[in-house]
C-alpha cells in the first residue's frame, strides 16, 4: 500500500520539478518583484511529496512489507526496530531517496530564510536546485526505485547482516548526507548569485550559514564513520585511506577552504571568482563521491551494489552539471568586479589564501590517489594499488609548513599587518614546545624522520591556540575550532608515535610478555545467544601496578553464515586498551591482537571541538567580526 504512495509521490515531485524549472526560468527574464505564489506553492507540494515518499519507505521497513523489493533485500523481521528504520537509508535506493529528501528540504529552508534577498537570485537558486532535484528524481525512477515490488510476497527478508546493525553506522549516513547535500545549496546559490550579479559581502554573509551547516555535518559525519570503523571493524584503526573514506574527505577540504574564503568575501569583498570556483568544486566532489561509490568503479570495503548502468547515469549527470556551471561561470565572469585587486602580503587575506593553497594541495593528493588507478587502468591496462603509504608520504611533510603558517596566520590583521612584532609570549611558547617535544621523543619507540619538527610544531600550535583564548584577536568560534584542529593533529601524532601492538596465537591458559605487560588468556566461554553463537574470551593485561580485564567476543551467525569479531576496548582519557581475537583453524589456538593506543579519545573530542566552533559561529548572531 505504501508502495503506491511512495512511488507516485515521486512522479508528482518530478512533474513539479519540470514546472518549477520552466517557470523560474521564465520569471528570471522578467522583472519580477516577489516570487510568484504558484512557484512557492508548487515547491511546497514537491517537498511534501518527497517527504511522503521517504516516510512510505520507512514505514514499509518498519512493518516489514516484503512486497517491497528494497525492504525484502535489506530487512528482516528479527531486526530490532531501530535498525529496521535505519535500514531504510542503509541501501542504495533508500540512500538516494534520503539525498533527494535533503535536497528538497534544504531548498525549502533556503526559500524561507532568503526572503530578504534579491528575487532574481532566489529564482535562479530555485532553478539550479530544481535541475539537480529533477536529475535525482529521474535517476531514482529509472534505475533505483525503492518501491519496486516483489511477487509472490516473500515471508522473510534477506537483510540480517549483523555488521550493519550498529548505532554509529545507522546515523552516519544521514549526518554525512546533510553535509554532502548542503553543498548543493551552496552550488545553486553561487551560480544564482553569479548570474544575478550579487556576489559580494552581503551575499557572503548569507551564504556563510549554509557553508557552516554543510561543514559541521560533514565533519561530524566523517567522525562517526571513523568511530564506527574503530569500534566495529576490529583493526584498531580509524582511517584507512579507503576510496569511500577519501570521497568524504575531499569535499571537506574544499568546504574548509570555502569557509575561510567566504569570511574574506564578507569582510573585504575579495576573491569573488575563487569563491564561485570553490562552490562549484565542492558540490562536484560531493556528486563525484556519489558516483565513485555506487558505480562499481572502485575497489573498496564499503561500495554499494556494483551496477555500471547506474554509474553511467550519475557520471553523465555529474558532467552535465559541471559543464553547465563552468559555462555559466565563463559567460558571467565580467559581472564579478572588485575595487581592490590584490591583498597585501602580510595580512589575514593572504593567510587565508595560504590556507586555501594547502587545502587544495591536500585535496589534490587524495583526489589523485583515489582516481589515478582508474585512469591508469583505462589508459594502460596496468592495475596498481594506492594505499596509506602514498598518502602519508605526500601529506605528512606538507603538514609541517602548514602548522607553521597556522600558528601566526589567523591572528594577522586585515588589510595590512607587520610581522616584525616580537612577542615574548610566542618565544616562551616555542621554547616550551621544544622542551615538551624533547621529553616526548625520548620516550617514543617509533620515531620517523619528520617526527621531530612535527611534534615541536604541533605542540607549538597547540599552545599558541590555547594562548589565543587569552587575547582578543579573534572570535570565540575561531579559537575553539583552531584549538580543536591543533589538538587533533597532536593527538593523531602522539597516538601514532606511542601506539604499540601485540599479535600472537595463544591457547587458553597461556600468558605472554609484551613490553612491560603480561597478557593472559584466562578462558573462552561459549554460549548461544539470540541468533548467534558467542565465544567470549576473558583476558587479563597485567602490568606492575594494575591489571585490566578485557572480554572480546567472536560471534558466529547462521543467517547468513558470518563470523564477526567484536573488540573490547577500555577507554580512558589517557589511552585505549584494545583487544580483539579470532578463531584459528588450528584447534585450540586463537589469534590475539592487543593494541595500546594512547590519547585515542582526544582524536574524537578534538573533532567535536572543531564542529562546536563552527556551530557557535552559526548560532551567534551578534558575534563581533574580527
Amino acid at each position: 500500500m505504501s508502495n503506491y504512495f511512495g512511488n507516485y509521490s515521486l512522479y508528482i515531485a518530478l512533474i513539479a520539478s519540470i514546472y518549477l524549472i520552466i517557470k523560474s526560468y521564465i520569471d528570471t527574464n522578467i522583472n519580477i518583484k516577489n516570487l510568484n505564489k504558484n512557484l512557492v506553492l508548487i515547491t511546497s507540494v514537491q517537498t511534501v511529496m518527497i517527504i511522503i515518499s521517504f516516510i512510505s519507505l520507512v514505514v514499509a521497513f518498519i512493518i516489514s512489507d516484503f512486497s517491497n523489493e528494497t525492504v525484502f533485500n535489506n530487512s528482516h523481521t528479527l531486526k530490532p526496530l531501530f535498525y529496521k528504520i535505519s535500514g531504510s537509508w542503509g541501501n542504495h535506493e533508500g540512500s538516494l531517496l534520503l539525498w533527494l529528501l535533503v535536497l528538497s528540504v534544504f531548498l525549502y529552508i533556503f526559500l524561507l530564510k532568503s526572503r530578504s534577498q534579491n528575487t532574481k537570485y532566489r529564482l535562479l537558486t530555485l532553478l539550479f536546485q530544481q535541475i539537480i532535484i529533477s536529475g535525482f528524481l529521474i535517476f531514482i525512477l529509472l534505475t533505483s526505485n525503492p518501491f519496486n515490488t516483489v511477487f509472490p510476497i516473500p515471508s522473510e527478508g534477506l537483510g540480517l547482516n549483523p555488521i550493519l546493525q550498529d548505532p554509529a553506522l545507522a546515523i552516519h549516513p544521514p549526518i554525512l548526507y546533510f553535509g554532502y547535500v548542503g553543498t548543493s545549496i551552496i552550488f545553486s546559490t553561487s551560480l544564482a548569485a553569479l548570474v544575478a550579479g550579487n556576489i559580494g559581502d552581503s551575499w557572503a554573509k548569507h551564504i556563510k550559514s549554509w557553508v557552516l551547516v554543510s561543514w559541521i555535518f560533514l565533519t561530524i559525519g566523517i567522525l562517526l564513520g571513523s568511530i564506527w570503523a574503530y569500534y566495529e571493524l576490529g583493526w584498531g584503526g580509524f582511517w584507512f585511506w579507503d576510496p569511500v573514506e577519501n570521497v568524504s574527505l575531499m569535499p571537506w577540504f574544499c568546504l574548509t577552504a570555502l569557509l575561510h574564503t567566504v569570511i574574506v568575501l564578507e569582510k573585504r569583498n575579495l576573491f569573488k571568482e575563487w569563491t564561485i570556483i570553490l562552490s562549484i568544486t565542492t558540490f562536484s566532489l560531493s556528486m563525484s563521491g556519489t558516483f565513485l561509490v555506487r558505480s562499481g568503479i572502485l575497489n573498496s570495503i564499503h561500495t554499494f551494489a556494483n551496477d555500471p548502468s547506474r554509474g553511467i547515469f550519475i557520471l553523465s549527470f555529474l558532467f552535465v552539471l559541471v559543464i553547465m556551471s563552468v559555462t555559466i561561470f565563463f559567460f558571467n565572469q565580467k559581472k564579478l568586479t572588485s575595487t581592490i585587486k590584490n591583498s597585501f602580503i602580510i595580512s589575514k587575506e593572504t593567510a587565508i589564501l595560504v590556507n586555501n593553497w594547502f587545502m587544495m594541495f591536500f585535496l589534490s593528493v587524495v583526489l589523485v590517489g583515489t582516481i589515478y588507478p582508474i585512469f591508469l587502468e583505462v589508459l594502460n591496462g596496468s592495475k596498481i594499488s594506492v594505499g596509506p603509504p602514498f598518502y602519508h608520504n605526500l601529506l605528512i611533510p606538507f603538514l609541517i609548513p602548514f602548522l607553521v603558517f597556522m600558528s601566526f596566520g589567523p591572528s594577522l590583521k586585515w588589510i595590512k599587518d607587520k610581522l616584525k612584532k616580537f612577542e615574548y609570549n610566542l618565544l616562551i611558547i616555542f621554547l616550551a614546545s621544544i622542551l615538551i617535544s624533547y621529553f616526548i621523543l625520548i620516550n617514543a619507540e617509533k620515531k620517523f624522520l619528520l617526527s621531530v619538527p612535527l611534534i615541536i610544531l604541533s605542540f607549538y600550535l597547540l599552545l599558541v591556540t590555547i594562548n589565543d583564548f587569552f587575547n582578543k584577536k579573534s572570535s570565540l568560534s575561531q579559537k575553539i575550532s583552531h584549538f580543536g584542529f591543533s589538538l587533533l593533529i597532536t593527538s593523531i601524532l602522539l597516538n601514532g608515535l606511542f601506539s604499540n601492538e601485540f599479535n600472537a596465537n595463544m591457547k587458553v591458559g597461556e600468558e605472554r610478555k609484551f613490553n612491560d605487560k603480561v597478557i593472559k588468556l584466562n578462558s573462552v566461554n561459549v554460549r548461544d545467544i539470540d541468533n548467534y553463537k558467542s565465544l567470549k574470551a576473558n583476558f587479563e593485561i597485567k602490568n606492575q601496578n594494575s591489571f585490566i580485564q578485557l572480554s572480546p567476543e567472536v560471534r558466529i551467525y547462521q543467517q547468513p553464515f558470518t563470523i564477526t569479531s567484536e573488540a573490547d576496548i577500555k577507554t580512558t582519557l589517557f589511552s585505549d586498551n584494545f583487544l580483539v581475537f579470532n578463531i584459528l583453524k588450528d584447534d585450540g589456538y586463537y589469534n590475539v591482537r592487543y593494541q595500546y593506543k594512547p590519547v585515542m579519545i582526544w582524536i574524537w573530542i578534538s573533532t567535536i571541538l572543531i564542529s562546536i566552533g563552527g556551530l557557535l559561529s552559526l548560532i551567534k548572531k551578534n558575534e563581533k567580526k574580527y
Binding site: 558505480s295 556494483n306 558532467f319 565563463f330 587502468e377 583505462v378 592495475k383 583453524k585
Partner: protein, 176 residues
C-alpha cells in the same frame, strides 16, 4: 580571446576525463589472469598425501609441457561442486596434480574415497605456501602451468565450469 581559449581547453579536458571515467566503468574487475607467464620457483620439496613420501616438486612437472594443478580441500564446499568436472578431466586422460590445501590428511582421504580420485598425484600444503608459489589465492583454484618453462599459463579461480573444462582440454591438446 584568451578567456575563450581557457574555456575551450577546460571543456575539452572535462570531456576527456568523462570519457576515461566512462571507460573505467567497463573495465573488468577480474584480476585472476593478471600475471600470466610468471615464473614458478620449483626448488622446494613436497610431501605426497598417500604415502607421505617427500619428493622434489620439480619431478611432478618436468615430464610434460603442460600440466594441470588443482588446489582443493575436503572442507571446501565449492570443491565438492567442481569434483565431477575434475573426474571428467581424468576420463579425458588429462593428468591433474592435486594440492591438498590446509587439510587434515584423514579427511582428505575420506573425501577422495567417497567422491573418487581424479588426481594423478596429490601433495599436501599444510600452511598454504606451496599454493602461493603457484600464484593461487584460494580454494578451489585450477592452474595450467608449463612444467618445462616453469611458468603459469592460465588460472581458473573458483570451481571449474564446463566451459573451463573445454578450455583446459583445448589448451592441452594444442601442445601435444
Amino acid at each position: 580571446m584568451k578567456k575563450n581559449i581557457k574555456f575551450i581547453s577546460l571543456l575539452l579536458s572535462l570531456i576527456i576525463v568523462f570519457i576515461i571515467l566512462l571507460k573505467g566503468l567497463n573495465v573488468s574487475k577480474d584480476y585472476s589472469n593478471e600475471k600470466l607467464n610468471s615464473k614458478i620457483d620449483f626448488s622446494f620439496k613436497v610431501k605426497k598425501l598417500f604415502n607421505d613420501e617427500v619428493i622434489n616438486i620439480e619431478d611432478l612437472f618436468n615430464q610434460e609441457d603442460l600440466s594441470v594443478v588443482n588446489i582443493w580441500a575436503s572442507w571446501c564446499a565449492p570443491c565438492k561442486d567442481e569434483h565431477p568436472n575434475l573426474m571428467q578431466l581424468k576420463d579425458m586422460n588429462i593428468k591433474v596434480v592435486g594440492i591438498n590445501y590446509k587439510d587434515n590428511p584423514k579427511n582428505a582421504k575420506n573425501f577422495l574415497n567417497l567422491l573418487g580420485n581424479p588426481y594423478s598425484e596429490i601433495i599436501t600444503d599444510k600452511d598454504g605456501t606451496k599454493s602461493i608459489e603457484f600464484g593461487a589465492i584460494g580454494v578451489p583454484e585450477t592452474i595450467v602451468i608449463n612444467g618445462k618453462t616453469k611458468s603459469i599459463i592460465k588460472k581458473f579461480i573458483g570451481p571449474l565450469s564446463n566451459e573451463n573444462i573445454i578450455e583446459i582440454k583445448s589448451l592441452i591438446n594444442e601442445k601435444t
